[in-house]
Amino acid sequence: MYMFKYVLKRLLLLLLTFFIIITVSFVLVKLLPDTPIKQLGKDPTLIMNIKVARHQYYINEAGEYIRTPIIEQYIYYLGYAFKGDFGVSELLYPGQDVWKVFSEKVPFTVAVNLYSILFSIPLGIGLGIVAAVKKNTWIDHLISTGVMIFVSVPSFIYGFLVQYLLCFKLHWFEPVMNASNGAFSWTGFSTMIPAVLCLAFGSIAGFARYTRAELTEVLTGDYMLLARTKGLTRGQATMRHALRNAMVPIFPMILSEFVGIMSGSLIIEGMFTIPGVGSLFVNSIRSTPNPDYNFFILLSAFYILIGLVAGIVADISYGFIDPRIRMGAK
């Protein structure tokens, strides 16, 4: 019951936070000057008609387009958003439904992040275990140094390295992703590898560092000594006792990474031309003369929601994994 109440409380809080942020962001975006009507794609009247239909504009007696008050725009926006209508693109894909464009991009982002996570979890945790078991030997020093470097160096630096060495010099991979067959096809996968590598380096290092830290702490515990005195070998004791306990904080981290799958990487996607959410976001901001506001609002909301959910999932999963932790208990 504790748990249920706690989860409910967190969910309500999440919705409240989300609502406040979205309201503020919407108002801030709408306070900006809107894109001049003439520059709305090839057929401005079409887009303006949609905007009028969605109560973002109205036509006055003189036949001019006038913006409706922001509060009114917001209420109508929310109403349409509940029905899954987030408006149309103004500049990037003039006249197209932003939700449709967005949902076409999601699979690519999910694919590239999924591959990278599937690749980095076993490798990262494995390296972490090796480093912890061989603590203070040259193996540990080697892994720890590598981890330190890969954690701190920004991912676009690996991006340059991978692009230059593996794509241009050694010609192992295509520097540009071939998206023609969809995200989950073989061509998609094989041309995604450089991007997957760039994303994986950082997460491998992150997992390895975390696992090493947790495991070294657990390995010094008294129950490990007990397990050894019972007659378990070092390997058995590590695998059956230490690793399970060390996983308690690591598992939520994995979970929140999985939630974060959809948010993608702004830089890596652009660098390897993966038509995902990240590059859509960057393009929507960089479009001229103004950002593509409908995309911007939708994607901002999406990112904020992902961040909030990832936080909650990690917190709640602690309670499920570790029976000693009782969430929300007084």
Binding site: S25, L28, P154, I267, P291
Partner: protein, 526 residues
């Protein structure tokens, strides 16, 4: 088993009282007391990685401060005023004079014949070696034809394409005087466009194909290039008013054949408005004339001809100043906010925590974009960026301070101070806050690489634009270089190396500092 027992017999007279007669007083401590910060410093020095990182950080900071002074300011000042700077774009990094490594050379592969001869001819005309290392010549055949290709390294500084300049009479006179004084040929003879093909670099006669010239050179019986300069014999070439003694060695004028001598300039304009002279110049020597030093760029030059070394240093200086400033402001705001939260607790804490919760849920990226859209037009991109980083940046600091306050506020010494009549403000700042200071300083050091990273990513993505002739950002340098990476890898190499080194060393340094300031770790490292 044998019981071994050894008895050492010490004679009685060897025993002596430790202190006989005098009273035993407490002696004054001879050693100096080890305070919190001194202890932290001592433990920091034991961490070799952190010390090395600290040295690297200091080195990078020195680079950022003094880097821009390393190049003659004549050149950097010309960024704004002078279009000539653009002609010196994409020059390779040059540190050593000879060899293939870091010597201002660039490898060219599969170059066709006419381009190869153009590079070769450039050296002949300017009296220097353009092809520093000839690698190989080979044949490539496809279905239609067989062609000859070359692989070689060129000196990037000597193969800058020749260009024409229009000078006023005074400028022309000054340039000729400088030439004579320094014995450097800046002005090259004008090319006879009727006898060659398109570019200013082809000063030799080319083969004909139908009615048009190709870019392939024609050779004389010795296998040399046949010069195709405009001579004094042609009508307008005569009025070049070239009074300098510097002429190319093969110029017929040198041997007394004034009629067929090569013309070095073309006069335009009229007597009442003043004459202008169109001259073709050797870019290398023109650079020396113009900016007063031989072109040699340690990190090369970028697409606009800007020196990468100084650009990188000024970008780094900007990033570091921004990061340190933001971290200091965040520290101040976070400390005050966290202190109030932590000290008063209860409802105050609850409400203030909700506010910071909501703010922390907004991704920094979105805050930066919104601030940039709203304020960069009115207050400028940099203040907008600073504001955006502060809006959500202080939350981490506030959290740390709050936690420290919760730890210390119920301790006896605080109660004692309160009983002695200390006011809240005194309790907060004099009694509790100093305990949180070490942790706060370390976390504010760790904020610095984070801010630099965000700033670099944002300018790399083009979301914020901080670039101008006088200011640069590392992220913009990286994104500009990314497109030209296959041809000019140095455009990306140096900024990327710098950012990578900065991130690793700052993080190592910060972690070392954190461990040193953590009293729980005292003595554990042995």
């Amino acid at each position: 088993m044998k019981d071994v027992k050894q008895t050492v017999v010490i004679p009685k007279e060897k025993f002596e009282f430790a202190s006989q007669g005098d009273m035993v007083h407490d002696k004054k401590l001879q050693t100096k007391p080890v305070g919190y910060f001194k202890d932290a410093f001592r433990r920091f020095c034991k961490n070799k990685g952190a010390v090395v990182a600290a040295i690297v950080v200091i080195f990078l900071v020195l680079f950022a401060i003094f880097g821009p002074l390393c190049i003659n300011s004549n050149y950097t000042d010309a960024y704004v005023t002078d279009a000539d700077v653009k002609l010196y774009k994409y020059l390779s990094p040059k540190l050593f004079e000879n060899g293939n490594f870091w010597s201002g050379t660039q490898k060219k592969t599969a170059v066709n014949e006419s381009d190869y001869y153009q590079d070769l001819a450039m050296g002949q005309e300017r009296g220097c070696t353009t092809i520093s290392d000839f690698i190989k010549q080979y044949e490539v055949s496809d279905v239609f034809s067989t062609s000859i290709k070359y692989d070689y390294r060129v000196d990037a500084y000597q193969t800058i394409g020749a260009f024409t300049k229009t000078l006023t009479t005074e400028q022309y006179q000054a340039l000729m005087a400088w030439q004579d004084e320094n014995r450097l040929q800046v002005i090259l003879p004008s090319v006879d466009r009727n006898a060659t093909s398109k570019t200013e670099n082809i000063w030799y006669k080319c083969q004909m194909k139908g009615n048009a010239y190709t870019t392939k050179p024609e050779f004389d019986e010795n296998g040399d290039f046949i010069p195709a300069y405009r001579t004094y014999a042609s009508a307008d070439g005569r009025r070049d008013d070239y009074t300098s003694n510097m002429r190319l060695a093969k110029d017929p004028y040198v041997n007394g054949d004034t009629e067929n001598g090569w013309s070095y300039a073309t006069r335009t304009g009229s007597a009442d408005k003043g004459y202008n002279y169109v001259v073709r110049v050797n870019p290398y020597n023109y650079f020396i004339y113009r900016y007063g030093f031989e072109p040699k760029f340690t990190f090369g030059t970028d697409a606009s001809g800007y020196d990468i070394f100084t650009r990188l240093a000024s970008g780094a200086r900007f990033s570091m100043l921004l990061a340190v400033g933001i971290s200091a402001i965040n520290l101040a705001i976070g400390a005050i906010y966290g202190a109030i939260e932590g000290f008063y607790g209860g409802k105050t804490d609850l409400i203030m925590e909700r506010v910071s919760d909501i703010l922390s849920a907004i991704p920094t990226m979105i805050v930066v974009i919104l601030f940039n859209l709203h304020f960069s037009a009115t207050v400028g991109a940099v203040p907008a960026l600073i504001w955006a980083f502060i809006v959500t940046g202080w939350i981490g600091m506030a959290g740390t301070t709050r936690m420290q306050f919760y730890r210390y506020k119920n301790q006896e010494y605080v109660l004692a101070a309160r009983t002695l009549g200390a006011k809240d403000r005194r309790l907060i700042w004099k009694h509790i806050f100093p305990n949180a200071l070490g942790t706060l300083i370390t976390s504010s050091v760790l904020v610095i690489p984070g801010v630099i990273f965000s700033e670099t990513s944002l300018s790399y993505l083009g979301i914020i634009n901080l670039d101008s002739p006088t200011r640069s950002s590392v992220g913009a340098m990286l994104s500009a270089g990314n497109g030209m990476m296959t041809k000019y890898p140095f455009l990306v190499l140096f900024p990327a190396l710098f950012i990578g080194l900065l991130m690793v060393s700052f993080n190592l340094f910060g972690n070392g500092l954190r461990d040193a300031f953590n009293p729980n770790l005292r003595g554990t490292e042995g």
